[in-house]
Symmetry: C2
Subunit: 218 residues, 2 copies
């Protein structure tokens, strides 16, 4: 929860960088480092120390002048801000190519994103188990989402049907959706929608190889 600072507008990039800091802090914790400076944190994610300090300062004063930031404490704080010190009930819709990969993706579980139920329209898959998770009929979407107390829905269906699916998901009252289909989905104002566009970075590389002189850019 953001304390008094919620008035100031916090940018998307700042939040994304918090994810990076969190990741680095997890590593530092394993390395038994007690404190870390903004300089070190910056170096590990190719940012500037000033950037790190500014990002953190939006949420509070976590550091000690002359010393740096306490690793464990800062990790906990960022975890609180990002909601990683708890678990989230996630549903996955579509268990094809991408979908199955996500079910086995350890990183999600590690961060508290638990896939509780999978939906598909393939009768051969419905009723079965996919890596220990129940595959339900997409026809029972609303009922099952409610029963499983789902908070976040991940969409991994073909682009052609994604909008219909997302409409049903919204109707079921879900307020947070992560979309892997390569299409721009329409949702009401009060629903959070984020897109994961898997070919965008590949296209950037392609652009870079053709047009840019020399490499590197995070």
């Amino acid at each position: 929860m953001i304390s008094e600072s919620s008035k100031r507008k916090i940018s998307e990039s700042t939040i994304h960088r918090l994810s990076l800091y969190y990741r680095v802090l997890s590593v530092l914790e394993k390395e038994n480092k007690e404190t870390v400076s903004s300089k070190e944190l910056a170096k590990r994610e190719k940012l500037t120390p000033a950037q790190v300090r500014k990002d953190l300062s939006f949420f509070g004063s976590f550091g000690t002048r002359g010393l740096g930031y306490p690793v464990m404490e800062l990790k906990r704080q960022i975890g609180d801000i990002l909601g990683l010190n708890r678990t989230w009930n996630v549903a996955l819709i579509g268990v094809g190519n991408i979908g199955s990969a996500l079910v086995g993706y350890k990183e999600f579980q590690r961060q508290g994103f638990q896939i509780r139920i999978i939906f598909d329209n393939d009768q051969r898959k419905i009723g079965s188990n996919h890596k220990g998770i129940q595959v339900a009929d997409i026809g029972n979407l609303e009922k099952e989402l409610k029963e499983s107390k789902i908070e976040i829905v991940v969409i991994a269906v073909p682009a052609t049907v994604a909008q219909y699916i997302v409409d049903d998901v919204v109707k079921a009252g879900i307020k947070a959706i992560l979309n892997f289909a390569p299409v721009n989905l329409k949702v009401p104002e009060d629903v959070f929608l984020r897109n994961e566009n898997m070919s965008m970075e590949l296209e950037y590389l392609s652009f870079a190889l053709i047009n840019l002189q020399n490499g590197k850019r995070a």
Copy 2:
């Protein structure tokens, strides 16, 4: 190839938006639309018309005043800029969870990114075929990359070994790398490295649910 405009700095966001325009133009082409206005293009990807025009103007004057942009022609132009009107020889390293999903991901092929060879260190997989693509021994990386004339390498190995792998990939002379491992990799200045962080957007949703009032943000 960027014509005279290569002096002006083109931002990363502009390139990412070109990817979006390209996607919309493909749809419009299928719908047999001949021309499209910046307004329509903007609406389909939730941007502003001015943004669309500015983005395109970095690369040339593709439109006709009073009329809009010719769909087919603009798609071809953006394809040229992004390098999508050709094929790229891609190698995939690591055919676990994420790796196998990428092999079957149609969107990549459709855009000309052809996975020619797969590397793994699992003796049971080496020598076999994965969806029709040869799985080679990671030990022969340099030799095989050269023989297959690979231009882009996709890394889908565990975070713990990713840096070692990427070092070898760089040694083999590869200049473009897409990294799916949740770790920041070090590469020389002249190598393009992009990261695909699959949990970042999920973390943003988590943050949004806890901290933000009402939804939506592309």
